[in-house]
Amino acid sequence: MNEKEFKFPSIYEFPPFFTKQPNLSTYNSQLSIWCKLILEYCKFYKIWQLNIEGKVISINDESDETIGLSLPTKIKENSIFENKSINRRLKPDFIKDIISELQRQQHLEFIDNTTNQQQFYIFWYTVEEWSSLILQWIENTGQQGTVLTLFELRNSPLSSNQEFHNMDHGVLIKVLNKLVEKKRATIMKDEQNQIVGVKII
C-alpha cells in the first residue's frame, strides 16, 4: 500500500453507501460513517477548505502557496462525494445532511455564512482542540509571552512537526480568537486592521 494515498474504508466501494437509506437507524450509522470518513480524509491530506461539491478549494493567496501545492492533482480534481470507480455520487440533500451533522459536531463552518453557503472550513480538530494544541506547543517550547508573527506560528521550522504547521490562514484566525476569548492570547493588528502577531500566555 502506498502510504501517500488515503485508504478508503471498504464501505466506500459499496454502492448503497451513496444513497440515503430509508431505515432511520441504518441511516444514522451511514451518516456517522460519512462524517468520520470526511474528517479522516481531510486530516490525511491536510485539507482545510471544501466546497459543497466535495472538492478541495484551490488557494491562490500568495502566502498560502505551500498548502495546495503538496496535494496530488487527482485529489484536487476529485470530489469526496463521488466514487467514479463504481459510478456513484451523493445527492445534494444527503450532502446537506452531512454538512449540518458536521456543523453540529463543530467540525465544519461556512466560510461566508451570510450570502452563499458554498464553501466551508473543515476542522478535523475542532477549534477548541486546535487552540489547546497550540497552547500546549507554546508551553512545551517555553514561548509564553513571546510575540510571534502568524508566519512564525504556521511556517517556521520550529513548528514543522506540529499538526498545525501550514495551517489555513482563516482557521488560524479562528483558533487565535478562541484563545483571546479564553484570555490566553493578545492579538496585534496593523493599520489595515489585519492580525499580524500574537502573544500567548
Binding site: 448503497p16 431505515n23 441504518t26 450509522s29 456513484r88
Partner: protein, 254 residues
C-alpha cells in the same frame, strides 16, 4: 604500587577510575542478563516438556489445566514459542478453556450489537470471525498467531443456548450467518439473501419477478420489509434506474 597523583593531575585520575567502574558494571550487568536469559530458556523448555508429558492430564482435568495456564501467564512465559509442531494443539489446551469460551461469547454478543445498525442483526460467520480476530490480536496477552476458528464460535454460541435462541447460527444458501434478532427469517427472506450472495450482492424487483415468478406486490412488500428491518440497503443509482437492494455484508468486499 602508588599511582596516586597529587595536585591538578589528580582530577584526570577521577575520570579514569570512573571509566573503569563503568566497564566493570557493564560487564556484570551483561553477565547477569545472559544468565537470566538462559534460566528463562530452561524454564520455558521445561514448561513445554511438561505440557507434552502431562498432555492427557491437562486435557482431562479442567482444574489442573487452569492452574497450568495460570503459571504460564504469570511467568510471562509463552509455551507456544519455538514449538511449531503442536502449536495449535497447545493453544487449544492452554488458552481455550471454559472461561475462554464464555469470554468469547460475550465478545460475540458485543460485536453483533455494534454492527447491528449496519447489517440489521445478521452477520456472516466469516465477517464475525475477522472482527473477533482483529480484537484478539490487539490484546497483547494472547499468544502470537492466535486465531479464533469457526468451530470456536459455534462452541461459544452453544454455551449460550440456555438464554433462548435470540443468538443463533443460521444457514443461508451454503453460508453460515449469526443472527442476533429475536424474529426468524421467513422462506422468502431467506431466498432473497441467498440470491444476493449468488448474484453479486444485490437483488431487484425485476430480478425476483423473472427468477421466481413472484407478483410485483409480493416482491415490493418483502423487500421494503427487509429494508425497514435493516437487512438490506437500497441503491438508487443502478444502471437502468431500478432500485437495487444490497445485502450489507458486501460492505466488506466480495
Amino acid at each position: 604500587m602508588n599511582n596516586k597523583k597529587l595536585g591538578l593531575s589528580a582530577f584526570e585520575n577521577y575520570s579514569d577510575i570512573e571509566k573503569q567502574f563503568q566497564n566493570l558494571g557493564n560487564s556484570l550487568l551483561e553477565k547477569q542478563s545472559t544468565e537470566l536469559a538462559t534460566q528463562l530458556q530452561v524454564f520455558q523448555n521445561a514448561l513445554i516438556n511438561y505440557s507434552k508429558e502431562h498432555h492427557k492430564e491437562i486435557v482431562e482435568n479442567p482444574k489442573f489445566r487452569s492452574e497450568f495456564s495460570k503459571i504460564c501467564s504469570s511467568f510471562g512465559v509463552n509455551p507456544l514459542v519455538g514449538n511449531s509442531s503442536n502449536n495449535e494443539e497447545l493453544s487449544n489446551i492452554v488458552v481455550k478453556n471454559d472461561e475462554f469460551y464464555f469470554e468469547l461469547a460475550i465478545k460475540i454478543i458485543e460485536t453483533c450489537n455494534e454492527t447491528k445498525n449496519i447489517n440489521g442483526g445478521i452477520i456472516k460467520m466469516k465477517e464475525l470471525k475477522k472482527l473477533l480476530n482483529l480484537s484478539y490480536n490487539m490484546n497483547s496477552l494472547m499468544p502470537l498467531n492466535f486465531k479464533i476458528s469457526e468451530s470456536d464460535i459455534i462452541k461459544s454460541i452453544g454455551c449460550l443456548k440456555t438464554l433462548g435462541d435470540e443468538l443463533k447460527i443460521i444457514q443461508i444458501g451454503s453460508k453460515n450467518y449469526i443472527k442476533v434478532i429475536p424474529q426468524a427469517l421467513n422462506k422468502d427472506e431467506n431466498l432473497i439473501l441467498e440470491t444476493c450472495n449468488f448474484i453479486g450482492g444485490y437483488v431487484s424487483v425485476a430480478l425476483l419477478r423473472d427468477n421466481f415468478q413472484w407478483e410485483y406486490i409480493r416482491c415490493k412488500s418483502i423487500l421494503d420489509d427487509m429494508v425497514s428491518n435493516g437487512l438490506l440497503w437500497i441503491d438508487e443509482q443502478g444502471e437502468d434506474g431500478e432500485i437495487l437492494y444490497w445485502e450489507p455484508s458486501w460492505i466488506h468486499g466480495k
